[in-house]
Symmetry: C2
Subunit: 123 residues, 2 copies
């Protein structure tokens, strides 16, 4: 079935991720990367100047701090952070997310740190 694309099972892909804040690519869509991550604890303040960022929580709960407040959301909830918007993701307990950025965008956007992943692997 050369023309029929592969089905991606998100739980199966997540089972291959060992570290928090270590995103992997599970698909490409219109020049964007569909990514999975396990997150826990605090991420860094950053913005993505050239791409919106979409977050969908698959299990658990997370929050995103913005300069004017905090949003909390959980499994089955999503949010789109507009390009250029400063934000800081966090999760008290382990949380599994699907998210999207344009291809090649570092996870920390404009703010390199020890959490930066420049080029993500396909999983």
């Amino acid at each position: 079935m050369s023309g029929a694309p592969k089905i991606v099972n998100l739980a199966e892909k997540l089972s291959k991720i060992d570290e928090h804040w270590d995103p992997r690519i599970v698909g490409h869509y219109n020049g964007n990367e569909i990514r999975l991550a396990k997150i826990k604890g605090d991420f860094v303040w950053h913005a993505h100047t050239e791409t919106d960022e979409m977050f969908l929580v698959l299990s658990g709960n997370m929050g995103i701090e913005f300069r004017d407040g905090v949003r909390h959301f959980g499994a089955g909830e999503m949010v789109v952070v507009r390009r250029g918007t400063e934000h800081r993701p966090f999760a008290e307990d382990e949380c599994h997310i699907l998210f999207m950025d344009k291809e090649g965008e570092p996870n920390t956007g404009d703010t390199p740190s020890n959490l930066t992943r420049e080029k993500l692997d396909f999983i």
Copy 2:
């Protein structure tokens, strides 16, 4: 909180959709529409010549027929159909999906029919 985006609860949005094959927009991301739909029965053969199409099953099971075979997938599974690829979605029982196309893309792509939705409403 002007800069903090709204959280979208997918189940709450789905509860507002009454018809099968009647997609609605729940977000915009990099020139694409994040869409929700309830599907049941057979859709039409079509292709999207200018956009990839991403499907993520939220509940239930669906299939997509391609010219060289059928893929079946269920909750927690996703697939990206490349632009130009002929396909025909279907679902034996009601299935809830999140999917993405570029902004303004009709749901039936290059094949207008009585199932065509040209311009989708935000829900």
